[in-house]
Symmetry: C2
Subunit: 329 residues, 2 copies
């Protein structure tokens, strides 16, 4: 699947992914009206509105982009009907030839992580049948529980030729609270609470330790184009840390959130890419799907919201292109 993703990036010339993270505030009134008329002001009505809204955006952007990243929380908030809309969105994007990255940030201990991996990437045995659940192409994974929480995802990736992106350094303001903590490494770090006295002492931020593990995991499962099925999430909002992590994880594709609405710009991204403009894929959610609510695209109006999204995709590609050009990549 990493090879398909790379192929699609090269074909579209667009190392970007559209985050399908719908909220009721983004959905234009005419769509809400139609959905509520059919299904009421209920979870079912909200889910129908979300699905119609997504379909509009997908239909107007699928030829420009390699991938989408639906954020499952935005669907889960509408309960079962919301998750049905998630499933319809995943299926429809795959029909349109898009690579689907399920932004699920799951992670648990061994057998439970295996169940999540099965749910989203694999197949479960029911009697004599193998049945697929949500069946995305990639998912995001939270590493806080360590290797035995991550390995079941890698095992399913190997079997299904799918991939994951592991959270290393997230794009949010408080990501540093734990991820940036300086961890003691080297000989003197073994015993808790002891003072180091005069001993030379090395330290390294936690995200770099996690990045080191991702590099190990990545080497377990390489694709054909020099990148692994096992990638990482590193926020655009922390370019300095991103530069370090790019070197720590040379074979890991990096999924980069935080572009646009969260503050990241094209020039914050360049260091994530190799000389072939590969190695990273940049996500924008709000900036694309709610473009019509942005003054810059207000001429489109709510009725043509999906045309605004298309224009925002074109502008994002141009912004990244210009950033590449400015450094001769």
């Amino acid at each position: 699947m990493i090879d398909k993703l790379i192929e699609k990036i090269q074909k579209t010339g667009a190392p970007i992914v559209v985050g399908l993270d719908p909220t009721m505030k983004f959905v234009p009134d005419h769509i809400k009206k139609a959905a509520f008329a059919e299904k009421g002001e209920t979870l079912e009505g909200a889910a129908e509105a979300v699905w119609l809204y997504n379909k509009g955006i997908i239909d107007k952007t699928y030829d420009l982009i390699p991938a989408v990243k639906p954020q499952i929380a935005m669907y889960e908030q509408f309960g079962i009907p919301g998750l049905v809309a998630f499933q319809k969105t995943v299926d429809y994007c795959k029909e349109k030839g898009l690579v689907v990255i399920g932004d699920i940030k799951r992670g648990d201990i061994g057998s439970t992580s295996a169940a999540y991996a099965t749910a989203h990437l694999g197949k479960v045995q029911v009697g004599n049948n193998l049945c697929a659940g949500f069946d995305e192409d990639f998912v995001t994974v939270n590493p806080y529980l360590g290797s035995d929480g991550v390995q079941p995802f890698i095992d399913v990736c190997r079997e299904e030729k799918k991939g994951i992106f592991i959270l290393v350094k997230t794009s949010n303001p408080s990501s540093g609270e734990f991820q940036d903590r300086q961890v003691c490494t080297g000989a003197s770090a073994g015993s808790a609470g002891e003072e180091t006295g005069g001993i030379d002492f090395e330290k390294m931020p936690l995200y770099e330790i996690v990045g080191g593990k991702v590099a190990e995991w990545s080497s377990q499962l390489m694709g054909e184009n020099g990148y692994s099925y096992i990638g990482a999430v590193v926020g655009a909002t922390y370019p300095e840390q991103g530069r370090v992590l790019r070197k720590v994880m040379p074979k890991s594709f990096i999924l980069v959130p935080g572009y646009g609405a969260q503050g990241g710009t094209g020039k914050d991204l360049i260091h994530f890419f190799d000389e072939n403009r590969l190695g990273a894929i940049v996500n924008s959610s709000r900036g694309i799907i709610a473009a019509y609510q942005n003054e810059k695209y207000s001429k489109f109006g709510a009725y043509n919201y999906a045309d605004a999204s298309r224009q925002a995709v074109i502008d994002m590609i141009t912004d990244i292109d210009q950033a590449f050009a400015s450094v001769g990549k």
Copy 2:
């Protein structure tokens, strides 16, 4: 909800929670046969089997226990039908008066965490209506993304009088990989990569830092019985770390996984409790729900699997009681 949990623990005399984590391997053949006959060897068939299996266990144990903890991954692996079975299980347990802890281990950045909190503890605005999604009483939360990933859960807890348990030290073998890392604290920890030379230097494992944050979050939202709506997860399999964490988070109820099948015993648990036998709730999943597959309870047979579960609950309560008695608690 923490007060309801405490009241139910006192009433049953059982500081335990039954983990409803069904897999196809646990479900007795007669139940699978009936479910598959009705719905086929499909996700729907599997979900029906899981639901019937759960219902049997709930009916035979609900009078003995204060709470259940369905692990959503085990349902999610069966896609939408599996999540429908999760919802039915949550609803049925609440009907039976049980406190429901959704073991979902969600966690994301601000607005996305808010969506998860809404999905599982709160209500979402749809037109003029407020609609509840999964509507558990408590959920588990992953803290890797820091405060702005956790705060939205706390906000919803305040509004809905519900609670969360934040992962601090998990029960799995590799939990130490990141959670036990020694973090540099104190004056000299500020600048990355620098050697400390002769400076005195303090360090603390990451789980203790996370525990410290949990203590801060806990103090934001106290119940009436001296414990907070904001609790923590600390595995029974690491008693030494548990002892430290109990002191670091004096107001946080601790959800303790790892008893039974994962290796924890009654005596590993005592230090989690205060002198009133409060402050912690111990989970057992496999050891209860698949008791009939354990040699000790094999006399019950697969057909009476739920009676085996009832006996296993009684034995677990006795084990913990004896451990309390042995230290005069």
